[in-house]
């Protein structure tokens, strides 16, 4: 039993984050939920408390306010066992590529913010000598494509950051888990028509994340590792001509 352990979920309003919260709560974890406009989490908080009879606290956090990160971590009632970051925005590639400010927002939200906050927490975990870091990145970071390379490049940065962090903390007792979802049915992908058999549900992912919570590795869901392997091995002079 994992009684009395705590997970901090950053970006707690996202669909995957809510599914993760339910999964960990059902396994007896207490929850620290951080999000921007955290008042909107009220219903989620009461729901989790009633359903699982665990402690849930909500914290205000803006992933772009890097200077607040240290204070935010200090404000937590206690340092959690696990810290997961589910922050991300898809942006709109065709609009964003014409506007540096928009592009910058996508890059900072998907790369800088998540990396910096997890980096800060990782340092605390390292000092304490225990903890698990979980970052939700994306297969879009594996290779830049015309249709979403701003988002993809930021996720590539985040994936790379997590990889380095894992490498650095290998000898300490701190694990770093990289989650690489392909298509997931969430509000982020609402309106997109996703091919059914390679689209996962949030519950599928929350189960996978829970199973691997203390592992130091990179996780895809079948068949995405194969798909990305294939995509990454297409020679550039062919790749550049493919329209996707």
């Amino acid at each position: 039993m994992s009684k009395n352990k705590t997970i901090l979920i950053i970006g707690a309003k996202s669909d995957i984050a809510v599914a993760v919260a339910h999964k960990f709560a059902s396994e007896g974890y207490n929850l620290q939920l951080a999000a921007r406009n955290s008042l909107e989490l009220d219903a989620v908080v009461s729901d989790l408390k009633i359903k699982y009879e665990i402690n849930v606290s909500a914290y205000e956090l803006d992933i772009l306010q890097y200077e607040t990160f240290a204070d935010f971590i200090d404000s937590l009632e206690y340092l959690p066992n696990i810290a997961l970051c589910a922050v991300g925005i898809l942006g709109n590639q065709t609009d964003d590529e014409k506007c540096s400010l928009n592009s910058s927002l996508v890059m900072r939200t998907n790369y800088e913010g998540p990396s910096l906050i997890l980096g800060e927490i990782a340092n605390r975990f390292e000092t304490r000598g225990s903890g698990s870091i979980i970052g939700i990145s994306s297969v879009a970071g594996d290779r830049g494509r015309a249709s979403n390379y701003i988002y993809g490049s930021a996720k590539a940065g985040f994936t790379s950051f997590l990889s380095g962090l894992r490498n650095r903390l290998h000898k300490s007792n701190v694990s770093v888990l990289t989650i690489l979802p392909g298509f997931v049915k969430t509000k982020m992908t609402r309106g997109l028509s996703l091919p059914k058999f390679i689209t996962a549900s949030c519950n599928r992912w929350s189960d996978v994340i829970f199973t691997n919570r203390n592992k130091s590795k990179v996780v895809y869901i079948f068949p995405w590792r194969i798909i990305m392997n294939f995509i990454m091995h297409i020679p550039e002079n062919i790749f550049k001509k493919i329209n996707f």
Binding site: E40, A43, S46, D47, I50, K51
Partner: protein, 433 residues
Amino acid sequence: MNELSGWGRFPKIKTKELTPQSESELLEILRHSESYIPRGNGRSYGDSAINKDLTITMTRMNRLLQWNQESGELVAESGVLIADIIDTLLPRGWFPYVTPGTKFVTLGGAIACDVHGKNHHKDGSFGNFVNWIEIFNNNNEVVRCSPNENSELFDWTIGGMGLTGVIIRCSIQLKKVESGWIKQRTVVNNNLNETLQSFYEHKEATYSVAWIDCLAKGKSFGRSILMLGEHAHKSEVEAKLSNYPKRKNKKITFPFDAPSFLLNNFTVSAFNKIYFNLNKNKQSSYVDWDTYFYPLDSIGDWNRMYGKNGFFQFQCILPRELSEQGYTKILSTIQNKSSGTFLAVLKDFGSGNGCLSFPKEGLTLALDFKASQKNIEVGKELTDIVKSLGGSFYLAKDAIMNSSQFNNDFDKEEFSKHRNVAIKSEQSIRIEL
């Protein structure tokens, strides 16, 4: 654009569907929409929760907000499923007072249809256990209504098919139970008269419902099995069993649309004969809540059994004194037109509530029909019979009625004061409600 249908998969209608996740997101949509209908989990059978322009599905507003373990009062968002409530609160000794035949309905849908269960004759319908409702009314405001506060709006909302406004959250009263088991016993009735009599004789039972063999002829005409149930006391539960059993995992899922020739009069009649004889000799027994209340929930997508064209339900109520005459006529019509109805269920109702609610004193019959042109004609014929006897129809099941068949015996002027004119369903347009 999305194709939506009710649980009967007939009719199928193209619509834009939105699924807001928070009150602010919902209000943003409502304030900018001129024609829409709220939808729960899509378990009403026909087109009562579809609007061609915009259908707002509430299933993501599904959070429990407050729970009082002492009093059994639950406050929750309207997209919460009865299944979620049971999963969470049955282990703490509480169960919904009223539940329909599937646990996959939302609270908002249960209120809008004022659903009933096997205990209507004793406890009434779902609306009886609603403490208050918060609704986006026709003035574009979120207001609370209850039997004491905005009581007229409350009465029009219970059973109001969502037409008074989008239900955002509500407070309901649950029932204290000692276990998750039901003590069940069956009574065999050999003809229609015995069937009707038997409800009267067993009116003290908490739960009662009759399965009726609508294809039996001659002296067995109207034969049935009346199933009675009581919540089991803690002391009755076998020591080796869990006092509050968990929900059953889905055993099977209907993997494809059954070929439509599979359901014909011969197969249905054979099924009915076997079912009757299997149950005839059953003694009293204890069954878990899931098996007792929701036998069909254990077959995923059972609505595919009727083939790809779907099916429709027919549920009417007749005043008690006209029941024997009316149901004789209805059953004979089914037999003569030979339509093969798979599930026929009879149930008696106590007094009703809510201005537009379906349940009222009398006997109700529910039938399934494969959606075919022939059966739609039979359904219309049955509708006329019921209408001529002063009966009425359950809107949550209807897919075929027209405005003249709809029992519009209610105060239209009063209703128009509370009706939100932006809210329309394909059904409300069809029957001019």
